[in-house]
């Protein structure tokens, strides 16, 4: 899984009623994110780790950290598959 996911910088996006709408300019594909995925998108700055993003989700939705970790992992992977989030190689060390 991605260590520190980052938004794909080639994408155009806007927030509409608290949820993210993304346009892929290359192929004019439109992607709509649900509330949880939208929150992940906002925190996916290439700096925060997956665990840190999961902690934000847990706080936002008042759920257990382990459940938030599982949801975050699943969603981040799905967003990565669609090339909405980019894979950042884990920092060695």
């Amino acid at each position: 899984m991605i260590e520190s996911p980052a938004r794909n910088p080639s994408l155009a996006w806007r927030e509409v009623d608290g949820e993210i709408v993304i346009i892929s300019p290359e192929d004019s594909q439109v992607h709509e994110l649900n509330e949880t995925a939208s929150l992940i998108w906002k925190y996916a700055d290439g700096i925060r780790s997956c665990d840190e993003i999961a902690a934000e989700l847990a706080a936002e939705f008042d759920v257990a950290l382990e459940a938030a970790r599982a949801d975050a992992a699943e969603l981040i992977e799905a967003l990565e598959e669609k090339r909405l989030l980019l894979v950042a190689a884990p920092v060695a060390g």
Binding site: R14, E19, I23, P25
Partner: protein, 272 residues
């Protein structure tokens, strides 16, 4: 409003027909309050343009120069935008635009639409596949792809109320969203009206067995409108600007879905 009997050519000069612009006197038109100066060297094409854009001639002063040239030309300046359409192409530079390889008025019209989308973008405007009907001084916009019922809506509306039956120009001007007339028509094949009206609402057309207006979320209306927007660039910033414009529009103008059974009764739902 311009009238058929007089056509405006050159900078602030008004001539009676027939006249042809030369390299110093372009055909001046204005669409969506954006002035263009068309330099058309070919006589037949010029006459066709004079007829096609007769309602959109304007003496607003020099507009963005559009020079029609043969297909093959050397590149000298960097381009801000270019787009190929069949054998013709549009090239936008800081100094103006070029249309290359235009052989007939339909190609000219298509390239003008493409260029207009780029000119409207920084001006909070865009072109939309939609029919616009004016009722009590306000514009009702019915959006949809081919076959959605735009022409039917237009044909079922009172004579003289149709601002456009195919491609609508929406732009934030003078503090509000307005629909501008365009010369880009579909089945009605009219010359268009160079006029503008404040938006009353936008309706996404859906064919249905009943006439009904349905409130939908902003995300849903964005999903419905995006495929109807005429847009020709993969530039990220341009796409961001389009999204920003659309989000601004749907935040300020009532946008709904219209279930439409192709009869005049739909007006009772839209404007009771």
């Amino acid at each position: 409003m311009p009238c058929d009997a007089r056509l405006i050519l050159g900078v602030g000069l008004v001539f009676a027909q027939p006249l042809k612009p030369d390299s110093d006197r372009p055909l001046q038109i204005s669409i969506g309050s954006i002035p263009f100066s068309l330099f058309i060297p070919e006589e037949l094409l010029l006459q066709q343009a004079l007829k096609r854009y007769r309602e959109f001639t304007a003496a607003l002063g020099p507009g963005l120069p559009i020079v029609l040239r043969p297909k093959e030309q050397d590149e000298r300046e960097p381009t801000a935008f270019s787009y190929d359409l069949d054998d013709a192409s549009v090239i936008l530079r800081r100094s103006g635009a070029e249309f290359r390889g235009v052989r007939h008025e339909y190609a000219l019209d298509s390239l003008l639409r493409i260029l207009l989308t780029m000119m409207l973008l920084p001006r909070r405007g865009f072109l939309l596949h939609a029919a616009t009907i004016v009722r009590n001084g306000r514009a009702y916009v019915f959006a949809g792809r081919s076959g959605a019922g735009k022409s039917t809506v237009a044909s079922l509306s009172p004579e003289g109320s149709v601002l456009t039956d195919e491609i609508s120009l929406l732009r934030f001007t003078d503090g509000c969203w307005q629909a501008h007339g365009t010369p880009f028509w579909g089945e009605f094949r009219a010359a268009g009206r160079n006029d503008r009206f404040p938006l009353a609402g936008i309706y996404s057309l859906v064919q249905a067995p009943e006439d009904r207006v349905e409130a939908i979320s902003k995300k849903e209306i964005l999903r419905a409108l995006l495929p109807c927007v005429l847009f020709f660039t993969s530039d990220k910033d341009a796409n961001e600007a389009l999204l920003q414009t659309l989000v601004g529009l749907i935040g300020q103008v009532p946008c709904q879905r219209l279930h439409f059974r192709r009869g005049t009764e739909f007006w009772k739902e839209v404007a009771p």
